[in-house]
């Protein structure tokens, strides 16, 4: 089984404005693929098409084919809810559930889908918090304190733990460190490095150094089009496209 992602002729719109043009690419499993590009180039829209979150926005539409482990997620009769259960997502700004304790935040994906075995929940919560390198910091307070009481970096790791708890095959990260300080950022990056043992990771980033540090592959988006996708090393040293080189060397964007 190959939990990679294959994207074919993917187009996306916001009302009458086309945000993605004919994207086609393959994302290999258990590697980190970074998506870079200037603001407004469609990189967030792209990852949001991979778990059918794009269509939750008003007037947003998608056309094309995205295959995950052989399943065409835009196929007939495929429910977006089941797709999202297989794909974890971490957003730009940490967004823990404000009314829930730390524990409940992590357990939410399971609890709200009707899973209620306490002992197993305890196990999943511990495993997920350990996976997100947050367990030691919160194990004594996780049932009393709300998720919102943590620091920004801790909140983002809580959001990662929350996504890990649903045991996804793929992790999508939409600029997960852009709202964080350098120390928290490096913790998240270390985490990404460990998580790729188990997951296919797609990370959108504004920060090219970050892409160079964490990603095996890097894709460059410009004005809704994929310019190129290649090994990170090659992208940053010897890109095939002139526009990639211009962007990476800071000539625009």
């Amino acid at each position: 089984m190959d939990p990679g992602i294959r994207v074919q002729e993917l187009n996306a719109w916001f009302g009458g404005t086309q945000a993605l043009h004919d994207i086609g690419l393959e994302i290999p499993s258990r590697q980190v693929t970074a998506i870079i590009g200037p603001s407004g180039c469609g990189k967030s829209t792209f990852v949001r098409c991979l778990n059918r979150m794009h269509e939750t926005l008003p007037n947003a539409t998608v056309k094309g084919k995205v295959t995950i482990s052989g399943l065409d997620i835009y196929g007939k009769g495929v429910s977006p809810v089941t797709v999202r259960r297989r794909i974890g997502m971490v957003f730009q700004k940490p967004n823990p559930f404000p009314t829930m304790s730390i524990y409940d935040n992590v357990a939410a994906g399971l609890k709200l889908n009707g899973f209620s075995n306490r002992r197993q929940l305890d196990e999943v919560v511990q495993r997920s918090l350990e996976g997100a390198a947050l367990w030691d910091e919160v194990k004594d307070i996780m049932k009393k304190k709300s998720g919102a009481s943590l620091s920004g970096g801790q909140q983002q790791r809580l959001c990662i733990a929350r996504a890990l708890a649903i045991e996804p095959e793929i992790m999508l990260m939409d600029e997960p460190a852009s709202a964080l300080d350098p120390i928290s950022t490096s913790k998240i990056e270390d985490l990404i490095f460990q998580l790729k043992q188990q997951f296919t990771i797609v990370i959108v980033t504004h920060n090219m150094q970050q892409a160079a540090r964490v990603a095996d592959l890097t894709g460059f988006f410009l004005m809704g089009k994929l310019i190129e996708l290649d090994k990170t090393e090659k992208m940053f040293t010897n890109p095939s496209d002139k526009r990639t080189e211009d962007y990476i060397t800071g000539r625009f964007g």
């Binding site: 778990n51 939750t56 797709v83 997502m89 967004n95 559930f97 996504a163």
Partner: protein, 283 residues
């Protein structure tokens, strides 16, 4: 230098003076009402006022126990109608109502909000009282319940829209269905706001008299039955205030005082509970 500084201080003084003055003018009616009601009503507040029913003209003593209980029961019925329909339609508008049918609901709620309360009373009279052949507690509750719906609906919509979109996205991204997201994530995040809106609506309709005139009708005796005419504080105040008897006027003031204080007490209690976070995270 000294001149400019003096001028600035003077203008500052004028500005603050104007703001404080405006505040006092706004607060004045409230203090006048409270002051008058307390001054006139406090003397007739006795133990009997809360435990006895009205006495016939000429006999001293008696109270409004039946009207106090009647208002509580009418409000109970009104809440049973107004809260589920109001909160339900508010949730619909905020989470699913960004379309034509949502706009129709929104418009209807706004129109309903503008309908004079006596019109609601007379409509309930035609639709409930005439069919039941009875003025009744139930009819009074229905009339007040209908009046609660638009207020609760629109304020619920507003507080739900204040819940950040990122919270909804977080839940949807975990593969939680939208209805679950709404009920278990979005609504709890706005719980204190929704409860405040319910309290405001209750406080508003609890003092309504006109819709009760042809529905609950009023009663000089005890009634705890849904299908019988029932005393209510505003009705009793109205009946006593237009009577020619000095004793009854004093009772009307006392009734007004009890009505205002019980509304204030409820609002303060709920404010206190929600600010302490007792109701937060209730999911």
């Amino acid at each position: 230098m000294h001149n400019i500084s003096f001028r600035r201080r003077f203008v500052n003084f004028l500005g603050i003076g104007a703001i404080v003055g405006a505040t006092l003018v706004v607060l004045m009616p409230l203090f006048l009402i409270m002051g008058t009601v307390i001054y006139r009503g406090i003397g007739s507040i006795t133990w009997a006022f809360f435990t006895r029913i009205p006495q016939p003209v000429g006999e001293t003593g008696g109270g409004m126990a039946n009207a106090i209980v009647g208002t509580a029961m009418i409000m109970g019925v009104a809440a049973l109608i107004g809260i589920p329909l109001g909160v339900g339609s508010g949730i619909y508008l905020a989470e699913y109502g960004r379309n034509a049918s949502g706009n129709i609901v929104r418009f209807t709620a706004d129109v309903l909000n503008g309908i004079p309360s006596i019109v609601i009373g007379i409509t309930v009279y035609a639709l409930v009282v005439l069919i039941q052949h009875h003025f009744s507690l139930l009819a009074g509750g229905i009339a007040l319940g209908i009046m609660m719906i638009p207020t609760v609906c629109r304020t619920t919509e507003e507080v739900l829209l204040m819940v950040p979109q990122s919270v909804r996205e977080a839940a949807l991204g975990l593969g939680i269905p939208q209805w679950r997201t709404t009920l278990s994530v979005v609504v709890p995040s706005a719980a204190s706001g929704i409860i405040t809106s319910i309290m405001l609506a209750c406080a508003r309709v609890a003092g309504e008299t006109a819709p009760l005139l042809f529905t609950a009708f009023g009663n000089q005796f005890w009634n705890l039955k849904l299908n019988q005419p029932t005393a209510a504080l505003p009705l009793q105040i109205f009946a006593y205030a237009i009577s020619p008897y000095e004793e009854w006027h004093r009772m009307a003031w006392a009734g007004a005082l009890v009505l205002i204080l019980s509304i204030m007490a409820t609002v303060i209690l709920v404010r206190f509970a929600t600010s302490r976070g007792m109701l937060k995270g209730a999911h």
